[in-house]
Symmetry: C2
Subunit: 192 residues, 2 copies
DNA sequence: GTCAGGTCTGACACCCGGTGTCAGTCCTGA
DNA sequence: TCAGGACTGACACCGGGTGTCAGACCTGAC
């Protein structure tokens, strides 16, 4: 049960978010100042920072929601599946959705590659890895090494992010290619 | 042949770099202001920015030099070696050096994990991948896919970075472990 | 030697993201 | 209705980064 305060606060956050994303889409991330976002949302600059700690957070929040869905899909894969198979399957719906809303996804992915957003994207990948690694640990060949001393889950989650990211990098330049197929090709370099 | 101007400029850059790294080591990256660095190097804040575009660059420059040496080692591996074998071999001397200068390396690696340096490290990894990917391309199983449409080199370079990074993450917490062995264990999740 | 060109420098004002503080207002629950 | 906390705008400040200007400095040509 949430209090009224929390709900109104969330509503304000949502308003700021949609106002901000509209501005980002129109002018880009860096070119949009916090002042403009605050004004579009009808509040002072200072108040903006009472709802969001940083401008980056406006981007991150949405991306994290998205990533948590993927994590849920991964967790729902049958326990018998190996790490690579499971992660490939968990990510498949996203690939399909990207190819369905081709132009919108392409524009989004290209915006994400804006230099001013690099550190945000890096942070997103960091969080993504932290989210996926524990889910992958059980799907790796067993060892006697204790959890917190086994680098493999982090490495596999990281490699998966890199496969995705490199597939998207190629796709951004050659949007006629199939994103799913690019991802398969990228991952083929690991699983062998 | 370089001009006198270029050489003095380089000398000044070196002085600023050593002054800055001394301060970073003592107080950390974020806690050190550009003003302090400029003062330690005997110049104004404005002049500092005439030698380095950003404070990050002070960190990046040194890391990139380091990474270029690894790239050279990778390029020098026999052409018959596969991508994973070659990259593991190219990185081996670094691992040894880290274990030899155990405490200094550990302090350095821990400083690199400072939150304020995350975006810098991300940029470093980005550049590292760009450096390694073309060297790995020839060591992958041949396909009919043209160079610029093959995501595998980027993916493999990215995965290698992630293996390294996860090995270092574990090492930072368990410095008694062997870094080489951690890296082997991380990479064992790929090569199979 | 001197004079004109470009370079390097400090100083100052400014932008933007982010924070501390304060006083006033609004909301909630007793 | 009233006390306490939450929310707000305003303002001053910090630190990284940039544009600009005027003076010092260096260099090469005459």
């Amino acid at each position: 049960m949430t209090t009224l305060r929390e709900r109104t606060r969330q509503a304000v956050r949502d308003e700021v978010l949609t106002a901000a994303w509209r501005l980002f889409a129109r002018h880009g991330f860096e070119a949009t100042t916090v002042e403009q976002i605050a004004e579009a949302a009808g509040m002072s600059r200072r108040s903006f920072f009472r709802y969001f700690a940083t401008k980056e957070e406006l981007i991150l929040v949405r991306l994290i929601e998205h990533d948590e869905k993927i994590a849920a899909l991964l967790a729902a894969r049958p326990a018998t599946e190996g790490a690579w198979t499971a992660i490939r399957a968990a990510v498949a719906p996203i690939m399909e959705s990207h190819e369905q809303h081709h132009d919108r996804s392409l524009a989004l992915i290209r915006m994400m590659r804006e230099p001013g957003l690099r550190s945000t994207i890096a942070e997103r990948e960091r969080l993504w890895i932290g989210l996926m690694a524990p889910l992958l640990a059980k799907r790796l060949p067993r060892t006697s090494v204790p959890f917190d001393q086994d680098p493999r889950p982090l490495a596999v989650a990281g490699a998966a992010v890199m496969a995705l990211s490199s597939a998207q990098a190629i796709w951004a330049e050659h949007p006629d290619k199939s994103l799913s197929r690019l991802l398969d090709r990228a991952m083929s370099a690991f699983d062998s």
